[in-house]
């Protein structure tokens, strides 16, 4: 049962990422990875919100954790594309954009959005 729910979450999460990054590339271009950036920020927020809310609600069951946290949020956000895009920009000699804006920027914004998700979840 756990594998099925994790897999279903991963199926949906990966497709959500695919659709959003495709849309962002069409809409804003590929000079900066806006898609992966917003995916990782929103995914960090959703996981924190879910973890905070799930601890004391009907979502407390481990099935929801498998589907939403491990499957969906894990499959939706991605670390490998994030490092690959950083390397691509590094190879194009965009040191400041790749390392500061994208690599560190994603991390710090992701940390802050996780904090915001936790805060919002605990405020309910």
């Amino acid at each position: 049962m756990d594998l099925l729910l994790v897999g279903a979450g991963g199926f949906l999460g990966a497709n959500a990422r695919y659709v959003i990054s495709g849309y962002a590339a069409n809409r804003f271009g590929t000079a900066f990875p806006y898609g992966t950036f917003s995916i990782n920020i929103t995914g960090s927020f959703i996981l924190a919100l879910f973890s905070a809310v799930a601890s004391r609600s009907i979502l407390a069951g481990v099935e929801y954790r498998w589907l939403v946290a491990v499957g969906f949020c894990g499959g939706y956000t991605t670390f490998s594309t994030y490092t690959f895009e950083t390397l691509t920009m590094l190879r194009e000699r965009n040191l400041r954009v790749s390392l500061l804006l994208y690599l560190l920027g994603s991390f710090i914004t992701g940390l802050l959005s996780a904090f915001a998700g936790l805060w919002l979840g605990n405020a309910f």
Binding site: D2, G10, A14, S44, T77, L87, S113
Partner: protein, 151 residues
Amino acid sequence: MQKYLAVGVGGAFGAIVRYMINGWFKGEVGSFPLDTFLINLSGSFALGLFLTLLTRRNSTQAELRLLVGTGFIGAYTTFSSFTNETLSLLRAGNWLIGLSYSLASLAGGILCVWVGYLGAVMLEDSFKKIKTGGHESKSADEKKPLPEGKN
């Protein structure tokens, strides 16, 4: 439709493999998240290797890229766990572990994706040598330094 199926099937298996690795490393709460760390580093290496090989071969197999790259490796690695684990380490006052986890993940991830990229370039070069019978190619094309191609 086939595109979404490729991404989804790859994503389902990537998430399941990550979940199974999570189970093997049942670390104590407040300790270094070794499972996510190893997952993100190995996935970075794998994506660097895979996407570089595909690009250098001018592969037209879009579905393969979606199944393995976007789906499997993308879903195998995770950013949300990385930030949430760092946040809970910092909030618990485990500053040293939280900082070393985030720095090691970022620096290690870049290093691994770069090693994967270099590995793909070396593999491609040795394939070419095998194809030309082990002799140094005399074509001007081969003597040129590797192009700084865009991915």
